[in-house]
Symmetry: C2
Subunit: 764 residues, 2 copies
């Protein structure tokens, strides 16, 4: 664990350069606006170690998969988010010498992520060979209000001499992915144009044929250019802006950029649109552009901020998490989703995992307009036919959503995950339940939700196997959420969630029969549902086998869990941790150690079905066996710990992900940020400490205060109400900002929160 | 299934060209001499589909592995047998037009493998554009008596015109492997020389630095050359021999080739040695070379032939199998072993699998001098330290032999095989037992065997886990011989063989204590064996858990076998077969269907420990659930079927592998031959029908005659005795050729077989 960033409630700042940890800093300093994002790379040349990364939502490439031994049903490709044409580049030269921060003497270097305004700032002093100094200040943002636009201000101030300065803003399409399976380049050149003011580069992805046009335009403040020029080579355009600055005089190049794609425009028009967008940005000017961007971010923090007092590290951590989630997904485009690394690196290919439904949905549901969460659901609805194809490839009826996807097709290629980690299907159904429960948008069930529930139920009904000797339905050969067991039988979580999926489908069916009978008939005709199918769902739900360990009174993670050597994590040699970096895979698999919440994930999802004693027993049994080697694990344990009153344990577990990336806890942040686990960290606070639940059609809040904090507060959007919840020593307050009165269950009592008023309750 | 070869007891002949099936014919027409081998490629140019393949035993390349997700303990490379420099090439031109059999009109084409003499022959008539005809006859062999030498006779006879003929024999080092994981070329150029008589090319493998020199020399018969010349380009040398043939006149180019490697010579001397060898061959001349080669093969057939009368297809099949086994491995070099495809293709990388111990050893033990089998054992002994390293990589004590290897290191990269298919360790111990039982070479135990038994026992003792609830030792997380189940607990075969391995180690230890106490002390000091280790082996052996299915009275393939849906193969839709080409992997895994002998493999290995009823019950339970999708499976079932008196079933199962490649039964022979399963097919006859067993220190023969055959006979080498066993209707005969009298158990009775006499017994 390495801490290279200073602690501040609203900023993440790297003081001094860290050439060895530059990739880490680049990951942490990533910015994005949902449409696109980028790592915190430098604008000027840098010959040191760096992972250049600019990513555009939904622009992917089907890289040929790399497998040891092909098996039927494997996907042919692994969709990857692409490193897209670089539009941030501004090569600079002073007195004819090109600036390269790896080569020049640099003083007072600072790279800082301004979280309030979502912009990346750098400042440093260049020292040339004669010891002359130039101050440099750079600000970059990707506009939250104009999603195709970004802008950079690059300012030079010679301190003690008159400097000749050459700015060379450029667009570079000659980019590659470090993780390309076979070293191929994924882009081909379409067209380019460069004149001394506006330039444009159009590239196209191979195979998927996404056309991406990138345009740039510049302005110079503080001096008139002595010379301007344009240049180009294959897949590369540049402008040259030569000027002179007197000692103490600041010259500033502003680079406006726009990125348009054939996902949004006809492919013949992307170029014209990029030019139009960049010209609009240029006309608006930096101040106006930046101002509207900051206003959009003010709104985000108004609805979704979490305030922690008495612990600046925690405060910085949670804001960083919210910031990066907002960089990744804005919810405007239902074709997009949330990659585990967002726009901050290549790993995991930028694809969609069940992380979205299990961890991210609650965050977006509670911090933004409900239409955003609804778009996350629609993403899966729109992939329903592909999920049916996917099930069919595996020889099953109904729909099996892919484990990893970009366009609805499976693109993971390990059988133990792809073919066996089928519990993801239930998470997708659960998200519908969770969304409807939270928002009361029951219309969604008629419009879209039931179709997904029907086809996932169909899958489960086909995937189970009847075991006559015990008169039960079993689910054989699965991998549960705990990926440290593969090909097990009767994973309690999977079986329980499958039964729940069937039950919920039947419940929604009853609801539709009563309230939307016409629509129900229409759906079931379209889906060719036979009446005996729902009958069978009921039978399977009732006879689903759910393994139990009598001697401990806990649910069995799987049939043979108790045949494993029953060790606990505290018996391990600390040098063996993390297990996945020290133990061979077979040793991990046959050990009792659990990677991430499995039985506990079920206790979290179906929270109100289990009593406190059950939760306690299972927590006490499984927690000591869990190594939390997924960043998605501790939050679930933390939430359950909070629920059963283990508040210190809840806090301890929360700490494991709160600053995962800022402190590079897992030593892998250089590859990119753990975006989806950031939502889990947010949940630890709002669900875990704040005790947020929705049940009996009501919002419940049952907060406690971690001892280490003086005070914390969070915002909630709930069915059109904006609530602020604040917990201090001995007191909990809930305030509604505007709106109409709303009834909530606050610390166990139903109370009505009027508009613009605060209710205060003593904490037990 | 496609039959393109004519049936003949001693020949495999392709009549007419089969451009669509050329790769199949190339595989089947492979020749080899243990030192090297090659596919039945054409000498002249061929622009049609072909897999060029020349392979040299032990010359491999560590190709970078291709995995989906790297796991601790995975090998970094996958050792591959290399496609080596091509030395068979003879480009030919007639009247200035290059001969390409894919372009020219060809009549009366015949490609034929002469099994008696192990040579490849081709004959055909070329028809040029003017309709003029030239007869061509080609013979190629790799010398059995001079393992570094091969020779080719290439004869042209113009039928109706005077033809200008240009022969261009060449050596080509610019070769690649089709299955290279990343498309890399594996050879680099060292040196070359070409003059008009003898040329030489020296190449070196990348990374492994094997130096291979290939030399050639030619002679011309039937005409004097009009012109001779030499040419070369990078990694390529050629001679040109121009001559003229009158109508009816035959001109013959003889190409002598020699291949030497740095495995046998200092790398600076390979070139000189190749030139020396080729000159020796040239001096000897074709007739003499071929004659000594044929005499060596005569000896092989004398000791190891199987004669089948009344079924030419069966006769051809078994001889083909014996031939190809003899092409692959001659046993002279303990550094070599038997790749599943021998020298006939690239697939499986030419590496060593447990096939050697389980299937091939009995063949070589019974058909060749016992030193050959001993060398197969020494191969593993020499890899013992690497096997200890391998176990250590997986966090275990003792030795775990690799699943797939070239030099003792693991080179398989799927966790479910590499890490979990640990039963291979017992097969390697079993081979020691089997060898000593057969040969009575007990000295081997003291010299080498016990060390292997000690370290494999150590592995098992560490790999088991004690289960206090049942007071048993379990083996969790394995893949048994049936690879259609992965990551199962308590595979009966693995547990049983592990317990047996421990028991045999203890037994050998007792033997050594009595007969070689000094050596025992020396070994155990070297291996740091503590006295409590063997005590623990005894405890584990006694308390090993061996799952049993009460309701069927059979051994349970694994703990949860009975939770699977209990179907049998006859209930499957025939379109679903083979399952591995029609079902997704997860579906296969959770199905009851068995790829290859698993429980039955144990019944075969530990044959005399189970009574007839036990064998019957297990056969009747498992056989209907077995799809035999490994070519290694039917032979074991066939042998057990024979043993329990199901002779028709035994014959039916035998048929599934007897002509596997000749009839391209699995539709994959184009990739190469199934060499190791050929040994299984041989076992079906000699162990299955012939009833060969060794127990109580005696050779048992308990033959029956398949109804479809009139008569069959096989040869056996047993402890220095050469026996011929012949079974006809109602009669079984055993004849000793030479030697001293030997006692055997023939159809249940102990009899003495004198030298050069025949014993005849009535069959029940």
């Amino acid at each position: 664990m390495k801490k290279i960033f200073s602690v501040d409630p609203w900023k993440v700042t790297e003081m001094d350069m860290h050439p060895q940890d530059n990739r880490l800093a680049e990951s942490v300093m990533s910015i994005g606006n949902g449409h696109m994002g980028m790592r915190g790379n430098f604008e000027e040349d840098y010959s040191g170690d760096s992972l250049q990364g600019t990513y555009i939502g939904g622009v992917y490439y089907p890289d040929k998969t790399r497998v040891g031994w092909w098996k039927i049903g494997y996907p042919e490709y692994y969709a990857k988010v692409l490193n897209a044409p670089n539009f941030i580049g501004i090569r600079t030269a002073v007195d004819g010498v090109n600036v390269d921060l790896a080569q020049w003497d640099v003083e007072n270097f600072e790279r800082s992520l301004d979280m309030r305004r979502s912009c990346l700032q750098r400042s440093f002093t260049l020292v040339d060979n004669s010891g002359r100094r130039i101050d440099v200040a750079v600000t970059r943002f990707l506009s939250r209000s104009r999603r195709e636009v970004g802008a950079i201000r690059y300012a030079f101030t010679p301190k003690d001499h008159r400097a000749d300065i050459l700015f060379t803003p450029y667009l570079d399409g000659d980019v590659y992915n470090e993780d390309a399976n076979y070293g191929e380049q994924f882009w081909s050149h379409v067209s380019q144009s460069a004149d001394s003011s506006t330039s444009c580069l159009t590239m196209e992805t191979k195979k998927t044929a996404f056309v991406v046009s990138t345009a740039m335009r510049w302005s110079l403040d503080g001096a008139d250019p002595d010379r301007t020029d344009a240049g180009e080579k294959q897949s590369y355009v540049e402008n040259q802006v030569q000027c002179r600055a007197e000692p103490g005089q600041t010259v500033t190049l502003t680079k406006y950029a726009a990125v348009t794609t054939s996902r949004d425009w006809p492919s013949t028009e992307t170029e014209a649109m990029a030019v139009q967008r960049v010209n609009e940005a240029y006309e608006a000017g930096w101040d106006s552009l930046f101002d509207e961007h900051c206003r959009a971010w003010k709104q985000i923090w108004t609805e979704g901020d979490v305030v922690i007092e008495g612990d600046d590290e925690a405060q910085q951590g949670v804001r960083f998490n919210i910031l990066q989630l907002q960089h990744t997904y804005t919810g405007e485009d239902p074709r997009l989703n949330i990659g585990p690394k967002g726009f901050t690196g290549e790993k995991y290919g930028g694809s969609t995992y069940w992380d979205t439904e299990a961890y991210c949905l609650p965050f977006y549901m509670s911090t933004m307009d409900h239409s955003i969460a609804r778009n996350l659901l629609l993403y899966r609805y729109n992939h329903l036919e592909k999920a049916i194809e996917n099930a069919s490839k595996l020889g099953c009826e109904g729909a099996l959503y892919p484990m990893v996807t970009m366009n609805g097709e499976e693109c993971h290629n390990e059988w133990e995950i792809t073919f066996e980690e089928i519990h993801r299907n239930a998470a997708i159904s659960y998200a519908i339940f969770n969304y409807v429960r939270y928002t009361k948008d029951k219309q969604y069930l008629a419009d879209y939700g039931y179709e997904v529930l029907l086809e996932t139920s169909r899958y489960w009904a086909d995937r189970v196997s009847y075991q006559p000797r015990k008169d039960v339905y079993m689910i054989l050969g699965v991998t549960g959420p705990n990926e440290y067991e593969n090909n097990i039988n009767n994973n309690w979580y999977t079986n329980t969630m499958a039964a729940w999926n069937l039950e919920y489908a039947l419940e929604v069916r009853s609801y539709l029969r009563q309230h939307h009978p016409e629509r129900l008939r229409e759906i079931e005709a379209k889906r060719n549902l036979h009446e005996q199918e729902p009958e069978q769902w009921q039978v399977i739900r009732d006879k689903m086998y759910k393994p139990f360990i009598e001697e401990h009174g806990v649910f069995a993670q799987q049939d043979l869990f108790m045949d494993k050597e029953q060790l606990t994590v505290d018996q391990l040699d600390p040098d063996d941790l993390p297990l996945n970096q020290n133990w061979s895979w077979d040793r991990i698999l046959r050990s009792v150690f659990i990677k991430q919440a499995d039985v506990l994930q079920g206790l979290f999802f179906l929270n109100d079905r289990f009593d406190q004693q059950t939760k306690q027993r299972n927590f006490d049994f499984y927690e000591p066996r869990t190594v939390h080697e997924s960043s998605l694990s501790p939050c679930v344990y933390s939430i359950i710990a909070g629920e059963i009153g283990r508040t210190d344990k809840a806090y301890e577990l929360y700490l494991r992900t709160a600053r995962l990336d800022l402190d590079n806890y897992n030593n892998d942040t250089e590859d990119g940020l753990h975006i989806t686990s950031m939502a889990g960290s947010w949940m630890s606070i709002v669900y875990g400490f704040g005790g947020l639940r929705v049940c009996d059609d009501q919002l419940h809040l049952n907060p406690f205060k971690p001892a280490a904090w003086e005070r914390y507060a969070f915002k909630l959007v709930f069915r059109g109400h904006l609530l602020r919840v604040e917990i201090a020593e001995g007191k909990a307050k809930v305030t509604q900002e505007g709106g109409k009165p709303v009834d909530i269950v606050f610390l166990g009592k139903t109370v009505s929160v009027p508009a613009d008023e605060t209710l205060e309750v003593d904490l037990h």
